[in-house]
Structures are given as structure tokens and as C-alpha cells.
């Protein structure tokens, strides 16, 4: 499958390994994400959604099994390689619109580019401005995060996640902390991104109204995928 982005194979994750309270959170996940996927990852609390998302985001490592990103096995990579791959291929949006307070909206969007290439050139700045414009915040680019509303901050976070032109956008309850109007707007934005930026989207959500609007739903129950479509 040529348009595969990420493939998870028999992926397991345990905590407190070797201790009496060892617990396996993910029991062998097999999953493939493609370029044009717009997927919702749903499941009750404690089902392992966040763990799975962190592993997919290369922030955490599986205990066993393999994660292929662009066909590349990642389990043998060291921290620096995974960091670079993460910076290049993945974008994150968190529930609590984690922006860095010390920087303006524009600089927050520039951050992944700066971490990757150093001092941003004009091209990078133009791209960051274009992304802010795409999320409708071109006029607020110099504001600090604490001068923006929750929905605006989340849109900045989305622009930041897109800065490196990632193949996959991972969002952990991106609307969980927003009122329903902002949530609608942010969700619409994800849709727009997926179609305009050729970027697969995976949303973790509790909200059945949102998951119903996704193309594909993955149900995670007790660390197992049930009737994935």
C-alpha cells in the first residue's frame, strides 16, 4: 500500500515492568493509517488512548511490536533520531492547547521550524504567517498566548503542528477544553487541513458527535481495537 503513513504491528505496552504491579495497557495493536485518513480514536477512559497516541507520536516507546513510519521501523532508533523524525513527520495538538507563553503566536508557530533549521528565513516566516492566516489568526500573530481565547490558542497550536508540513497530525482531545462553538470551528479546521495539506488526521475524542463526522472510527477498549472500520 503506497499511501500508507503509519503501520502498527502487534504493538504492546506495559508499565512497571518487572514489578508486582506490572500492567499491560495495550495488548497487541495492529493498525494502518493512510494519507487521506481522517480518523477518530475513541474509547472509554483508561482504555489506553493516550498511551497509544504517545507511542504513535514517538513520544513513548512500545514494550514490544513495531511501529513503521513511512515504512521505516522505529523501535531501534535512538532518542535523537526519533526526535528528528517526530519533528519532521508528525504534528501534535494537545487538549490544553500547550503553547509556550514566552513567545508570540507567530513564534510559537515558527518553533518547530526553528528547532529544525535554526534561525528562520523569510520563507519560514511566510509559511508561518500563511498557516496563521489559514486558521484565521493573521491579525493576532503578535499576541502572546495569554492574550488569546481558548479557541484561538488551539488554532495557533494547530498552525504550529502544521509548520513542518507533517504527514500525520495527532490530536489529543483537541476540543475537549472548548465550548461547543469553538469546538465546531476547530473540528472544521481539521477537516480543512486534511483536504488542503494532504495530511492525515487522527483525533482522540470523547465526543460522539465529532467521531460521527470522521471518516473512520477506531474503538479502543481495554487496550484492544474492536471492530475498527
Amino acid at each position: 500500500m503506497s499511501n500508507e503513513i503509519m503501520r502498527l504491528k502487534a504493538l504492546k505496552k506495559s508499565y512497571n515492568i518487572g514489578m508486582p504491579n506490572e500492567v499491560e495497557v495495550l495488548h497487541g495493536i495492529n493498525l494502518t493509517l493512510s494519507v487521506d485518513d481522517f480518523t477518530a480514536l475513541v474509547g472509554p477512559s483508561g482504555s489506553g488512548k493516550s498511551t497509544l497516541l504517545n507511542i504513535m507520536g514517538l513520544l513513548d516507546q512500545p514494550t514490544s511490536g513495531e511501529l513503521y513510519l513511512h515504512g521505516q521501523a522505529t523501535s531501534a532508533m535512538d532518542d535523537l533520531e526519533r526526535t528528528q523524525l517526530r519533528g519532521r513527520a508528525l504534528g501534535f495538538v494537545f487538549q490544553f492547547h500547550h503553547l509556550i507563553q514566552a513567545f508570540s503566536a507567530l513564534d510559537n508557530v515558527l518553533m518547530p521550524l526553528m528547532l529544525h533549521q535554526g534561525k528562520p528565513d523569510n520563507e519560514a516566516r511566510d509559511r508561518a504567517r500563511a498557516l496563521l492566516a489559514a486558521v484565521g489568526l493573521e491579525k493576532l500573530s503578535d499576541r502572546r498566548p495569554n492574550q488569546l481565547s481558548g479557541g484561538q490558542q488551539q488554532r495557533v497550536a494547530i498552525a504550529r503542528a502544521l509548520a513542518t508540513n507533517p504527514a500525520l497530525l495527532l490530536a489529543d482531545e483537541p476540543t475537549g477544553n472548548l465550548d461547543s462553538k469553538s469546538a465546531e470551528e476547530v473540528f472544521a479546521l481539521f477537516r480543512k487541513i486534511q483536504s488542503e495539506h494532504d495530511c492525515a488526521v487522527l483525533l482522540v475524542t470523547h465526543d460522539p458527535r465529532l467521531s460521527a463526522q470522521c471518516d473512520r472510527t477506531i474503538n479502543l477498549v481495554d487496550g484492544r481495537i474492536v471492530d475498527a472500520l
Binding site: 504517545n54 507520536g57 513520544l59 513513548d60 532518542d79 535523537l80 526526535t83 528528528q84 517526530r86 519533528g87 519532521r88 501534535f92 494537545f94 500547550h98 503553547l99 509556550i100 507563553q101 514566552a102 513567545f103 513564534d107 518553533m111 518547530p112 526553528m114 528547532l115 529544525h116 533549521q117 535554526g118 534561525k119 504550529r160 513542518t164
Partner: protein, 403 residues
């Protein structure tokens, strides 16, 4: 270097955001650096002053004829010899081949002045008054490089022509003479001579001002019965603290007794090195407390920024980049603190020099400032090492969840 740009931007943004912390630790570093620079400059000034006063009136190295000793006839093996030995009286003797020695020493670049001197005891008589003095026969232009006599003249001319002598202010007072007066010099060599006082000097050391009589080398040679001879060769070296090793090497080469000022002023040197030791201890301990101050502020900062560190990691920052962000913060604390500290110490030195007791002047060497700033910056980096490592090793997953 382009890579480091991002770390700079993040470090500076963090410092600006934590304004109060940054301000306070910068003041803390500044106080420490100000103390270090001020104390160092004070001690440097004090020591330079003491050394200058001591060395202003003496040579750095003196070469003398070795003492005459009794030579004992060697006895056969197994024989015990009991000797009742009287030490020999040391008569005034000339240094052998002193012209060659002076010519050889003139070639050495570590010496800045070489002055052959003939020196011996004499009595000064004027009317009823008798005073014992030391005759010092000199070549003016050579001796001037050892002791700048023109700086010490209080009256008369700096001249030691025929029958002209220079005497110290204390001796002039004791004898009740002034420039132009005549005195009789008696060396106990069936020779006594009447000379004119051409000038009066004041070296600032009472003993010398009461005892020294400077006169022309030839005149002194004839009065002391050492025609063509010299008894001492005075030397001056470029770096005063190398005097001892130079003295030793010259002593070995010339087979003369070689005394450096360091040896003849061992008390002074002990005092100076004890002072330096205590200064260094102050510097080290102030430095350590500054380092701990920086380390503790950054440790707190790492905890406060745990979540932001997690976000940076998730957006593609490597462990190395996080490490550098915090090392840079430590370096910036040291840099800015030391710049303010140096400015403060300048002010302190200015106050001391302007309003202080005026006993001596404190110079602030540029090398001291450069050293203070760079040492403080390096200290900042070292102090930041532990918190920076902790920041770099934070688990991004947990860091992001941290509230």
C-alpha cells in the same frame, strides 16, 4: 552556529519571562563578582604598593663575593679530626673579573639593569659629630636604572663628580649640614678626604637615609683601597617574581653569592603569599556560593517549565537542544551578573581611590575584568549542568501532562 540560534532565542525568552528570578540571581551574581573583583584589585594594589616601596630602594638581585672560609687539610680515612675553628673575618674584597661578569650579564634579556657597586664602611666627621655610614660607589647612569635617585632628591643636584657626594636627609639632619657643606669621610685606610655635599636624597627608609653616602665609583674604590674593584653587582629583572630563579641560575654561572629580594625579604613574601591565599579563598568561596545560587534558580526554573519542556520535545526539540537552552541560561546569568558586578566594583574602586585613606592607589587591570567575566560565565555553565541535564532527560509524555 545557526543551529544555536534557536536555543538562544528560547533561553532569552525564558529569562525575560521569569523576570523577577532573572533579576534577583543577576544581582546575586553581580554582588559576588563585585566582591571578587574589588578584593582582588585591592590586594593587587596593596601588594604592588608594598613591593614597589620595598623594591624602590633596592636591587632585585645582589651579587656578592662569597664569604672566605677556612680550608681544612683532608685527613686519611678512619681518622677523626677535632677542629677548633675560628671563622675568618670577612675583609672587603673585590669580585674577580667583574668587568667580564658585567659584560656577560648585560647580554641577558631577563635583566633590565646591571650596576657594579663598590660599597664599604666609613665614618663621617663634622666638627664634633661622628656618624658611621656606608659608602656606595656607583656609576650614576647604571645605578639610576636600579634606584631612580632623581625621584628621591629633596635638594641640590644629582651629581657625583670629583669630591661630590649625595647624602640622605636623616644624615644631613644628624650632622646639621645642607647642600654645599663640606664633610670629612674616613674609611680607616689611612685615607680621609673632605668632600662637598652636592645633593640630599630621601629614600623614605630611615636607616638608608641615615647611612647611605653615594659617591663616584672611582673615588670610592680609592678611598676603600679597592682600586679597580667592585664589591657588589646590583641587578634588576623584568619580572620581579622570577628574581629567585634568575638569582639561582646567575649564582651557579658566576660562582658568586647571589641574593634575590625574595630571599632577603622572606618575611614580606610570606605575608604577601598568606594574603594572596586568603584572597583566593574568599574568591573560591564566593564563586561557589554564586554557582549554587545559579544552580538553584535553574533547578526551580526546570520544574516550573516542565510542561513547556515537554511541548518543545513534542515539537521536535532534541535532548541536546533542551540541555543547551538551560546551559545558555546559566551562562547568561554569569555573563550579565559579572558585567553588572564589574561595573559595581569599578564604582567601589573609584570611591576608594577618591575618598579612601589615600594610602595607595587601586588599579583595576583589564585582564582582571576579562578573567572575572569569563570565569563567571564558565561558572554559570557549570552550575547549570545538573539542572540542564535534568531538563533534557525529562520524559516528554510526563512533562506534557505536568501541571
Amino acid at each position: 552556529m545557526n543551529k544555536l540560534w534557536t536555543e538562544w532565542v528560547i533561553a532569552i525568552a525564558f529569562l525575560r519571562e521569569g523576570r523577577m528570578q532573572t533579576f534577583m540571581i543577576t544581582i546575586g551574581v553581580a554582588v559576588g563578582v563585585a566582591v571578587i573583583v574589588f578584593v582582588s584589585a585591592l590586594i593587587q594594589g596593596l601588594q604592588a604598593n608594598v613591593i614597589e616601596r620595598t623594591l624602590g630602594t633596592q636591587a632585585h638581585i645582589r651579587l656578592l663575593q662569597p664569604d672566605e672560609v677556612n680550608r681544612l687539610v683532608p685527613v686519611p680515612e678512619g681518622v677523626v679530626q677535632f677542629v677548633n675553628e675560628d671563622k675568618r673575618a670577612q675583609r672587603l674584597r673585590s669580585i674577580n673579573n667583574w668587568q667580564q661578569i658585567v659584560a656577560a650579564l648585560d647580554e641577558r634579556t631577563e635583566l633590565t639593569a646591571v650596576s657594579p657597586i663598590v660599597s664599604g664602611p666609613a665614618l663621617v666627621l663634622r666638627g664634633e659629630a661622628i656618624s658611621s655610614v656606608a659608602l656606595v660607589g656607583i656609576t650614576l647612569e647604571r645605578y639610576q636604572q636600579i634606584v631612580p635617585l632623581q625621584d628621591y632628591m629633596v635638594s641640590g643636584r644629582l651629581s657625583i663628580g670629583a669630591d661630590e657626594v649625595l647624602i640622605g636627609s636623616q644624615l644631613a639632619q644628624d650632622l646639621g649640614v645642607r647642600v654645599g657643606s663640606k664633610i670629612r669621610l674616613d674609611t680607616g685606610q689611612q685615607e680621609s678626604r673632605v668632600v662637598n655635599i652636592a645633593g640630599i636624597f630621601e629614600l623614605g627608609v630611615r636607616e638608608l637615609d641615615a647611612r647611605y653616602v653615594y659617591l663616584d665609583l672611582r673615588q670610592a674604590q680609592s678611598m676603600l683601597g679597592l682600586i679597580g674593584g667592585v664589591t657588589v653587582i646590583d641587578l634588576r629583572v623584568a619580572d620581579i617574581f622570577t628574581a629567585e630563579s634568575i638569582a639561582q641560575s646567575i649564582g651557579r654561572l658566576t660562582q658568586l653569592r647571589s641574593e634575590s629580594w625574595i630571599m632577603t625579604n622572606s618575611q614580606l613574601m610570606n605575608a604577601l603569599s598568606a594574603q594572596s591565599l586568603s584572597t583566593n579563598m574568599i574568591i573560591v568561596f564566593v564563586g561557589i556560593s554564586v554557582a549554587f545560587g545559579i544552580a538553584s534558580v535553574l533547578s526551580v526554573s526546570v520544574v516550573q517549565r516542565t510542561r513547556e519542556i515537554g511541548i518543545l520535545r513534542a515539537t521536535g526539540a532534541s535532548q541536546q537542544q533542551i540541555l543547551r537552552v538551560f546551559l545558555l541560561q546559566g551562562a547568561l546569568f554569569g555573563l550579565f551578573g559579572s558585567i553588572f558586578g564589574v561595573a559595581a566594583s569599578y564604582a567601589l574602586v573609584w570611591v576608594f581611590n577618591t575618598f579612601g585613606p589615600g594610602l595607595f592607589y587601586i588599579p583595576v587591570a583589564q585582564s582582571l575584568i576579562v578573567a572575572a567575566v569569563s570565569l563567571a560565565t564558565i561558572t554559570g555553565v557549570i552550575a547549570a549542568a545538573i539542572p540542564a541535564r535534568r531538563a533534557a532527560q525529562l520524559d516528554p509524555v510526563e512533562a506534557i501532562r505536568y501541571v
